[in-house]
């Protein structure tokens, strides 16, 4: 089996329009959640979100590209360009033929759907722009990344709601580890902060109207975010030979399915994914110093997740740190695991643990070290990133300092 390292990272999210800005915000414990700016916001009950502000695709992409790029594709390409630039890779010949792109995404081109449903249903028009389909399809972003960087190997999009990015990165990891591909571009994106997207989530009554406070006793729900995270996963010898900067090693993953309920999380399903990732990575539980939690800020997720962590880690659960950065960048749904992997990279590479902000009251059902409100310096060898999706689909990744 090959070893897999990360040689490039890129992002855009409510905390920043690149990795440097995002990690600085996580260190400072800055909150990217604010008042939503969108059409018909007065008709929404939930008026907050972690929107990417000050981003105009028109300044980056030309008119023909804009006609084809939904906002989630724009986010993906911005993040992919940053990751590729950092990696220093370019693809031709056999490297191009074997390398691919696997991205996570849940809603596809929601902005495009929303705008065009308005056109035909609300405005009563009978004609839509010819690129509606290629713009809204969930694989649009992966396809445009493949075209921009000449990636001709295995490429597709994974949709497993809030675990999409983790499932995607697990696929990419497997392909590099098995020797199928020398390099895989991976991560995910989401752009659901449009009227229809927020309205749909409102219906489920799991959204907070004021703040995302994971693990806090007074937490009252999740807050949606948007953006993208993209990484370059590369076979370690390939990276070493060309003298690439290595950000971290990906050492294992596991996936599990609760097979129980379409929305309620299961402690057993989460615990099986966490312990499976440790087993796959070949690490002992006491080597894990940090977990980036799924930590949505809902009553059900946070207590179930803490209980699963306590079960898997036993006494070591009280010594490791677990934080939810969703308190800062919101829940990016299909893109969330990708942005959260940045916090894991920061933990193992820089020795900085991103905090859970908005933490106000201890909850006896979440009695772990959740790194409340302030970032912390710590020496971490192994970090995990949890994602537990609606539908009971779980995926956990393990990173190690290199």
């Amino acid at each position: 089996m090959k070893r897999v390292v990360i040689t490039g990272a890129g992002t855009i999210n409510a905390l920043g329009q690149n990795v440097t800005e995002t990690l600085a915000a996580m260190r400072e414990g800055r909150c990217g959640i604010g008042e939503l700016e969108m059409r018909d916001v007065d008709r929404l009950a939930v008026k907050i979100g972690a929107q990417v502000k000050g981003f105009e695709g028109e300044h980056i992409f030309n008119r023909q590209q804009m006609a084809l790029f939904d906002r989630f594709t724009q986010f993906t390409l911005v993040a992919a360009r940053e990751a590729m630039a950092q990696s220093g890779l370019s693809f031709s010949g056999e490297l191009s033929a074997k390398s691919g792109v696997v991205l996570g995404n849940s809603g596809g081109g929601m902005q495009t759907l929303d705008e065009n449903y308005r056109t035909v249903y609300e405005d009563g028009k009978n004609r839509v722009h010819p690129f509606v389909v290629p713009k809204l399809m969930n694989n649009a972003a992966a396809s445009h990344v493949s075209m921009e960087f000449n990636l001709k190997g295995p490429s597709f999009t994974v949709a497993s709601a809030c675990a999409s990015s983790n499932h995607a990165m697990a696929q990419a990891f497997q392909m590099v580890r098995s020797g199928t591909a020398p390099v895989m571009i991976t991560g995910g994106a989401e752009s659901m902060l449009c009227f229809g997207g927020v309205k749909a989530w409102e219906g489920l009554r799991v959204m907070s109207k004021d703040a995302c406070r994971p693990f806090s006793a007074n937490r009252n729900g999740m807050v949606q975010g948007e953006g993208a995270g993209v990484f370059v996963f590369e076979e370690m010898e390939h990276a070493r030979k060309r003298g690439a900067e290595i950000l971290a090693e990906v050492i294992g993953f596991a996936m599990s399915s609760d097979a129980a309920d379409i929305v309620m999380p299961s402690k057993q399903g989460a615990a099986r994914a966490i312990s499976g990732a440790l087993q796959d990575a070949g690490v002992n539980r006491d080597e894990v110093g940090y977990i980036n939690a799924h930590g949505t800020g809902t009553a059900a997720n946070d207590k179930t997740e803490c209980s699963a962590v306590a079960d898997v880690f036993g006494p070591h659960a009280d010594r490791l740190m677990i934080s939810s950065t969703k308190s800062m960048h919101g829940h990016l749904i299909g893109g969330t695991g990708a942005v959260e992997l940045l916090a894991c990279i920061m933990a193992v590479r820089d020795g900085v643990i991103a905090p859970t902000i908005g933490y106000e009251e201890p909850d006896p059902e979440c009695a772990l070290d959740v790194v409340p409100n302030e970032a912390r310096d710590a020496d971490v060898d192994v970090a995990l990133s949890n994602a537990f999706a609606f539908g009971g689909l779980n995926a956990v990744l393990a990173l190690r300092r290199i």
Binding site: Q64, R127, P130, F131
Partner: protein, 85 residues
């Protein structure tokens, strides 16, 4: 603006050219407009003139709508406007 000038403006925008660079005997291929560009141009033409253009991208040469040159497109649009107004 005449139908001819408007159609040329739409085609020029698609080709990323100045309208003065679009000649009546140009084919879409001459102008670098591919099949996706053609479909987008037809959409823009339908929007501009509020007409429906009978064009199926699966069989572009089978349509009544002749896209062999800029001139034939303009003539086709003028005919459709007359028929559909």
């Amino acid at each position: 603006m005449s139908v001819k000038d408007k159609v040329i403006e739409i085609i020029a925008e698609q080709a990323v050219l100045e309208p003065s660079d679009v000649k009546l005997d140009n084919t879409l291929e001459d102008l670098g407009i591919d099949s996706l560009g053609l479909v987008e141009s037809i959409f823009a033409i339908e929007e501009a003139f509020d007409i429906s253009v009978p064009f199926n991208a699966n069989e572009p040469t089978e349509s009544d709508f002749d896209i062999s040159s800029v001139a034939s497109i303009i003539a086709g649009i003028e005919k459709l406007i007359a028929e559909q107004s």
